[in-house]
Symmetry: C2
Subunit: 451 residues, 2 copies
């Protein structure tokens, strides 16, 4: 029997538990609950969201034997609470999610429990269609998300393009005297795309190296110091794409700062197209699953940053998974998947907060009242000066022309590109061995989510 982390444990039969509720009972309750709440919402007439709607909590009791409102089920009695139903209905509408699709994806198909779910003690489920992540959150996180909703509404209305998590619903399963709060949000890293390397980046250097234990994983999530060492030249984006990414990060950071949120990260997954081609050649069988298009709006990385009016001309790739086209210092073609995560957790643990104080002091912040601003500034600087690099327009074609078809075509322009980088004072690290390369043989379908 494995060690319990936070509220997450494993029972004698080997099944994951959360606050002693088995994962299967939790999934069952979530599916019954969401079916009911979405169903009853569709019966209510459409109306505008009001300020008060953010504070509403609907509750419905699901007795084991069923009631005139709820079906019988084979779990224990439970209560299902829906937070701010009208507000989240509006958010889902804004993200282009139809009630039927939402209900179908979450409730009519199997929820897949993610095994590699990190040190937060949360359980993560992925919907079968790869669209939604369900995550358990703590009381403080749920409470904070509720407080955040008016600001989240304002941001969405001004900024449909955002790298912030897309929150589709906040619920609570009350069973056996325990409250299990869950949040439904977008899936950042499409399972069907093999991530060759993944990073969780904050812009800090304080203890920001993946642990030895993390490195043992099939798909470790590396951190800032790893990135600085292994990808010292960052990710090359064409001019428009660079501007779009950085503008989005800037606007998102302003909102986070205004809510005094810190400790968030960018989750960054990199699919290396050229490496994938080499692997396909060397491996016995390629992955039979093809990259799938995501259905909701603005939920992929590229949609999240690309302004509606911007003409991205040459960057329209055949890639339907929403990766952002980039190159590494070797000139290899990459698809980059990004999103801002961990925006609720700074309100979770005093211990966590203490860590982030230490980190900020370590990184030069001396005036604690300015912390969120300092955090945001440093985060933006790191992302836009180090992680993402702008390639000037006249050389853009080097970056993009091979995305016209995401195929295993030969890499004719690598040499030009490398020369370009040399002449522009950028040092490609072609010869330097990297930790990342050690992890080339990654298993897909393992995501780490820490919202």
């Amino acid at each position: 029997m494995k060690k319990t982390i936070g509220h997450r444990g494993i029972n004698p039969t080997g099944e994951t538990t959360y606050k002693k509720t088995t994962s299967s009972a939790l999934k069952g309750a979530i599916q019954l609950g969401i079916t009911h709440t979405v169903g009853s919402l569709t019966q209510k007439p459409e109306r505008d969201v009001l300020l008060q709607d953010f504070e509403v909590v609907d509750s419905i009791f699901f007795p084991n034997e069923g009631s005139n409102l709820t079906p019988a089920h084979h779990y224990g009695d439970f209560k299902f609470k829906t937070y701010a139903p009208i507000a989240f209905r509006y958010f889902r509408e804004m993200f282009g999610i139809r009630p039927d699709d939402y209900m179908y994806s979450l409730c009519n198909e199997r929820l897949i429990e993610l095994s590699n779910s990190g040190a937060s003690g949360s359980i993560f489920y992925l919907s079968s269609d790869d669209e939604y992540i369900i995550k358990t959150v703590q009381y403080k996180e749920a409470e904070f998300l509720q407080k955040l909703l008016p600001g989240y509404f304002m941001n969405l209305n001004q900024n449909k393009r955002t790298l912030l998590p897309k929150f589709y619903g906040l619920y609570c399963v009350q069973a056996g005297g325990k409250n299990i709060r869950i949040v439904v949000m977008n899936n950042l890293l499409p399972s069907a795309v093999r991530m060759h390397v993944k990073f969780d980046l904050k812009g800090s250097t304080y203890k920001r190296r993946a642990s030895a234990k993390e490195r043992e994983k099939a798909v470790p999530t590396f951190k800032d110091l790893d990135f600085m060492q292994d990808m010292a030249d960052g990710l090359m984006l064409d001019n428009d794409m660079y501007t779009a990414v950085c503008k989005t990060i800037q606007r998102d950071c302003l909102l986070l700062q205004s809510f005094k949120i810190m400790d968030y990260s960018i989750l960054l997954g990199i699919h290396n197209l050229d490496q994938a081609c080499r692997e396909r050649d060397s491996e016995a069988a390629a992955d039979p699953r093809k990259p799938q298009g995501q259905k909701s709006l603005y939920s992929t990385a590229i949609e999240a940053i690309q302004a509606e009016t911007a003409s991205m001309g040459s960057l329209d790739t055949e890639d339907k998974t929403g990766g952002i086209p980039a190159r590494n210092s070797k000139g290899e073609r990459l698809l980059v998947y990004i999103g801002i995560i961990d925006i609720l957790q700074s309100y979770r643990l005093a211990k966590k907060l203490e860590h982030s104080w230490k980190a900020l002091v370590h990184d030069g912040d001396t005036v604690s009242v300015h912390r969120p601003g300092f955090y945001a500034d440093r985060f933006q600087r790191f992302m836009c000066n180090f992680v993402f690099r702008r390639v000037l327009r006249k050389h853009e074609s080097c970056l993009t022309e091979h995305y016209d078809k995401v195929s295993c075509s030969e890499n004719t322009h690598i040499e030009d590109f490398t020369n370009y980088m040399y002449t522009n004072g950028l040092k490609p690290l072609i010869t330097k061995p990297t930790t990342i390369n050690k992890h080339r043989h990654l298993r897909p379908f393992t995501n780490i989510y820490n919202i």
Copy 2:
């Protein structure tokens, strides 16, 4: 010297005063203040509105002798405060008002003091271009407007079409130890259009008749009981227009109710095109001013109710003043100007509130906790069942075809229309003498505003 009403008075030289500040000094301070605040805003970079922005108050001191930030002036020293500058900049943008135009209209041209400004004790100014109304508000009203801003933001984002007042700015002039708070909003009734009759309607019958004193005025504002007596058949709107008006009123009432606002009215101005033609024939000279188009978006009655996607085909009139085409029971062609006013005042005076309690009890409300909902329901019912009437589609042409040109063409369809009404059980009051007709010879350019 005339009697003081509230804070408004008249000094020995005959000039209006507000809290002992002369109207000319107040206008001067407003113009200097708005010039400064709009000017300094344009220097700040564009950014998203945050929840905190609603609570910001900027303040700048204008010493008589000038400073390095402010020009010298010939009034006493004063302080100028701007409430929620970033939020109001966003609202103005949403309403399509450019900073330059806003500043120019309010600060570079004369502000016209409206003489007929009602019993509220407020001073009203109209900008020379007829676009803006400036009104003094009490502390409680300003405070309430600030609280309303997040909900107002939400409403605007979901509902650009609204009959609620368009709030463009909230300011405070601090002079001689007094605070004079002013709000800038849209002008509902274009001065260039002669209103043949005006109503302030609440849906109540309690003391809702214009006073004898009001009736002496050149352009009295009649009330509910007057409307019920003199316009018992209401205003005929074509089907789409009726639906648009009522849907807008319904959504606006939902917001007002959610903020527990009561006591608001619809200000309704009616320009009778056929009557205007007859007057033009009989009068020596027609008004040389032509109806002007308003510049800001959604600020006219027709824009406020007409959905962006709705095809209003035949209703596109040459009228640029934004009146809603309607007919009275005689079949005369009308342009109706409406807006919801008085949304801040229920928070003003205990005495006022007491009155509205009495009115609600009189009108059948016994449970005071339901008051805002009761008020809203009754208001909607009165507007959509009594004031505005739907004319069915097959007869729509009767209502609209003569709006193709707002001209003094002959009224060929009146007979048909009257017949239609008879056959549909509607009683045209062609022969009944009305109080309204007594006031046919109205002077233009006199508006009453009670927000």
